[in-house]
């Protein structure tokens, strides 16, 4: 006869033994036991990857809850979000957290991306981790773009119109891309249905797969130590991932949760006015903040640059910029050899400065508001 468990610890041990008898988890236990995180003056940046993952988890949970009430059609989308905000118990909280968390997630993702860039963590052997991370960044932006339209409000409608027009400037395939994105010649209910499909099915499927690869690679290769610290030759101390780093992660996640709660309670995400395709475009159409630098750049470009459309030059420029970031581990040969790489450092500074200045101009320049 099995002795009766005396405390909750005994209960956990008994459950653990029960599982162990059926599934061999010793490999995973070993990985967790031996996983360590280097401790140095840049350790803080390691937390942003986990924070992004936590916010993504919030997106998944709140997104599933919103799905229960959201109706993806031009006739009902706005009203269903309005219903969520006013009639559904805690619907306002779920929707506001979903919107705020999306923005915080892009922010932490950008911090994560550029901290990896400046710490040259993309260098050999982590090229594939960087490439998968860049794909995740692209997916996150697409999540943002497709989700922005779903409430079917005036601002989102016209911003999507502008955004899909810009996609039309991609050389050769632009017009086809615009038609495919819109599901026709113009932004209509058909666009809404496909943005919904992209947002809740296609993007989550791709994200799950690529995120799996990304996390697997991080696990396999461990955390990268910045080359400057490696070059110093001193031994780098470390801390166990479980529980030391994970508990610290938890502190950050709980803080993020409190911030999200505060934002949702004091600055609930606005719904705006229902989109009217026949109304003239309102003043102050602008995209989400993370597209603002692109939007502002396109505003400054002249209609024609030589024989080519100004917008097309801008779109090609951003395409090349994205391609450069994607291929940076293969272009930066010096950091692959563990050497200093000032050129890529300054290129990174240039990119960040450009994004910050142009975004600020988007909000502050006359006519930008």
């Amino acid at each position: 006869m099995t002795p009766r468990p005396r405390s909750w610890r005994d209960l956990v041990r008994a459950a653990d033994a029960w599982v162990q008898e059926r599934v061999d988890l010793s490999g995973i236990r070993e990985v967790i036991r031996h996983k360590v995180v280097p401790v140095h003056r840049h350790t803080l940046w390691y937390y942003f990857g986990g924070m992004t993952l936590f916010l993504f988890g919030i997106q998944v949970c709140t997104g599933i809850l919103l799905l229960l009430y959201y109706r993806p059609s031009a006739e009902e989308a706005y009203e269903s979000v309005q219903f969520i905000m006013t009639e559904v118990q805690f619907g306002w909280l779920i929707r506001s957290i979903h919107s705020w968390s999306a923005n915080l997630m892009i922010a932490t993702l950008m911090i994560h991306l550029f901290s990896v860039y400046f710490l040259q963590a993309y260098r050999k052997p982590r090229e594939l981790t960087w490439v998968s991370g860049m794909f995740l960044f692209g997916l996150a932006l697409t999540f943002g773009f497709s989700g922005y339209l779903l409430p079917w409000n005036e601002l989102a409608y016209f911003a999507t119109k502008v955004g899909t027009d810009v996609a039309g400037q991609v050389p050769l395939v632009g017009p086809l891309l615009t038609r495919v994105l819109r599901g026709g010649e113009d932004v209509t209910g058909a666009t809404l249905s496909r943005f919904y499909g992209i947002h809740v099915a296609i993007l989550p499927a791709f994200t799950t797969a690529i995120l799996g690869v990304h996390l697997f690679l991080v696990q396999q290769q461990g955390m990268s130590v910045p080359p400057a610290i490696e070059r110093s030759g001193r031994p780098v101390p470390s801390m166990p991932f479980v529980p030391n780093f994970l508990l610290r992660d938890l502190v950050g996640w709980l803080s993020a949760l409190a911030v999200l709660g505060g934002l949702a309670a004091y600055f609930p995400w606005e719904l705006g006015v229902k989109a009217d395709p026949f109304a003239p475009a309102p003043a102050g159409i602008r995209p989400e903040w993370y597209f603002m630098y692109m939007f502002q750049t396109l505003k400054y470009l002249p209609a024609k640059i030589g024989p080519v459309d100004g917008e097309m030059v801008g779109v090609m420029g951003f395409g090349l910029g994205g391609l450069f970031l994607l291929l940076v581990p293969f272009l930066d040969r010096r950091s692959a050899r563990g050497e200093k790489s000032p050129l890529f450092f300054w290129i990174g500074v240039g990119i960040v400065t450009y994004m910050v200045v142009l975004s600020a101009l988007g909000y502050l320049a006359p006519g930008g508001k």
Binding site: Q82, M85, T86, W92, L93, P243, N244, L247, R248, L250, V251, L254, S255, L257, A258, G261, G262, A264, A265, Y266, F267, P268, E270, L271, V273
Partner: protein, 420 residues
């Protein structure tokens, strides 16, 4: 410096080109135009120059069609030969008939516009202007007084004297000139009064070209002041619902008995100002007290009507204020704001129903409106209560999270100490 001069010259040339864009090319080989332009005489040259902007030129109607003569003849005597029908400058009294030669000819006018009116001259002689002209008055308006001469523009042309926003100044050239109008029994302050009216504001500031100007109430070719009995009909062409209510009201008979014009008695004629609820009731600004003394039933009714309007107005204002407050705090109240429009509609209807001068229908609309407004006020209150609940909930959650964070920090310290 040279560059600046060049730029200024280019700009001036561009402006000149732009300014002249509306003008047409004057015909070549037309001796009337060529001689009159060449003479450079301020008495005879301007008509030829101005003609480039005339709508008749665009239709191929030239000098000889009104003045007669032979423009193909380059000799002045030959061109202006009375045997060739030359009449020179037509007499003031002959102008309506001269224009009517074409404009009253349906068959001829259909060549240019199949829907154009051809009864203007006939109508003109029913007007005060036409009647006086027949009596030999040389000062009254004829066609050219309002449509201009030699640079006559189509009525849809924004520069035409007859374009709606310009009509008041066209009429005002005579009717606003006290010296010119001396001897006629009409006041010359009408132009200034009209320009202070809500109609002029709608026409010029809101760009509502359907807003009435002089000719809409007085007629254009048949311009005549509406009489006491027909004023309501004139206003009723636009304010039909109000007219209908007034006709059902006890005021209809009472005004007629006292020989008071319907709408004008309360709203004035040329200087129709924006109305407000203050005009109704028994207050200082109320118009009702001008006739109704405090002991009369009319006085009591006026007070009751005003009380209903005030009650609905107040409820509407209260509900709108609380919903705006909730909206500014980030609460979603757009549905409530939409439903509140029902109460605003009722207020609008109640204000129109004032013209029945019966408190009952106004009261009914006000009660319905107040009910809607109170319901929306409750929704606003609920939204603010929800907001307070959210804030309380947030601080309780933050408190729990802080306690959890504190526990985690203590645990981390304990682990770090143990491992050290």
């Amino acid at each position: 410096m040279r560059r600046v001069r060049l730029a200024v010259s280019a700009l001036a040339a561009l402006l000149l080109l732009a300014g002249g864009a509306a003008a047409q090319k004057l015909p070549e080989g037309n001796s009337c135009i060529e001689c009159h332009r060449a003479l450079g005489d301020p008495r005879v040259t301007p008509p030829a120059e101005k003609f480039a902007q005339d709508v008749h030129l665009a239709k191929g109607i030239l000098c000889q069609n009104c003045h007669g003569g032979d423009p193909a003849n380059s000799d002045m005597q030959g061109a202006m030969n009375p045997r060739k029908g030359f009449i020179g400058k037509p007499k003031h009294q002959a102008i309506p008939q001269l224009c009517g030669k074409c404009h009253s000819d349906a068959a001829y006018m259909k060549r240019f516009n199949p829907t154009i009116r051809v009864d203007q001259v006939q109508e003109y002689y029913t007007s005060v202007h036409g009647k006086l002209l027949r009596q030999g008055d040389q000062k009254v308006a004829t066609c050219i007084s309002c449509h201009s001469v030699h640079n006559i523009r189509a009525i849809k042309d924004q520069q035409a004297w007859t374009y709606p926003v310009k009509v008041v100044d066209t009429c005002g050239r005579c009717h606003g000139d006290a010296a010119y109008m001396k001897g006629y029994k009409v006041s010359t302050d009408v132009v200034e009064k009209y320009k202070r009216s809500v109609h002029y504001e709608a026409l010029t500031k809101k760009g509502d070209l359907s807003a009435p100007t002089c000719n809409v109430c007085h007629g254009n070719h048949g311009a005549t002041p509406p009489g006491v009995n027909s004023v309501a009909n004139v206003c009723g062409t636009c304010h039909s619902l109000t007219e209908e209510m007034f006709n059902k009201s006890p005021h209809k008979k009472a005004f007629a008995a006292m020989d008071l014009p319907a709408c004008v008695t309360c709203h004035s004629n040329h200087e129709v100002r924006k109305t407000s609820d203050d005009l109704v009731g028994t207050g200082e600004k109320a118009l009702c007290v001008n006739c109704h003394d405090p002991k009369s039933a009319g006085y009591q009714k006026a007070g009751a009507i005003r009380a209903s309007l005030d009650e609905l107005g107040g409820a509407l204002q209260r509900a709108a204020a609380i919903l705006t407050q909730a909206e500014k705090a980030g609460m979603e109240v757009s549905q409530a704001k939409f439903e509140l429009r029902g109460a605003a509609d009722n207020l609008l209807k109640a204000r129109a129903e004032v013209h029945l001068f019966d408190p009952a229908p106004v009261r009914k609309l006000a009660e319905e409106g107040v009910q809607i407004a109170n319901k929306m006020y409750a929704k606003g209150e609920q939204a603010l209560a929800d907001l307070r609940f959210r804030h309380r909930g947030l601080w309780i959650s933050v408190g729990i999270i802080l306690v959890a964070i504190l526990g985690l920090v203590l645990k981390i310290r304990e682990i770090d100490r143990r491992q050290a």
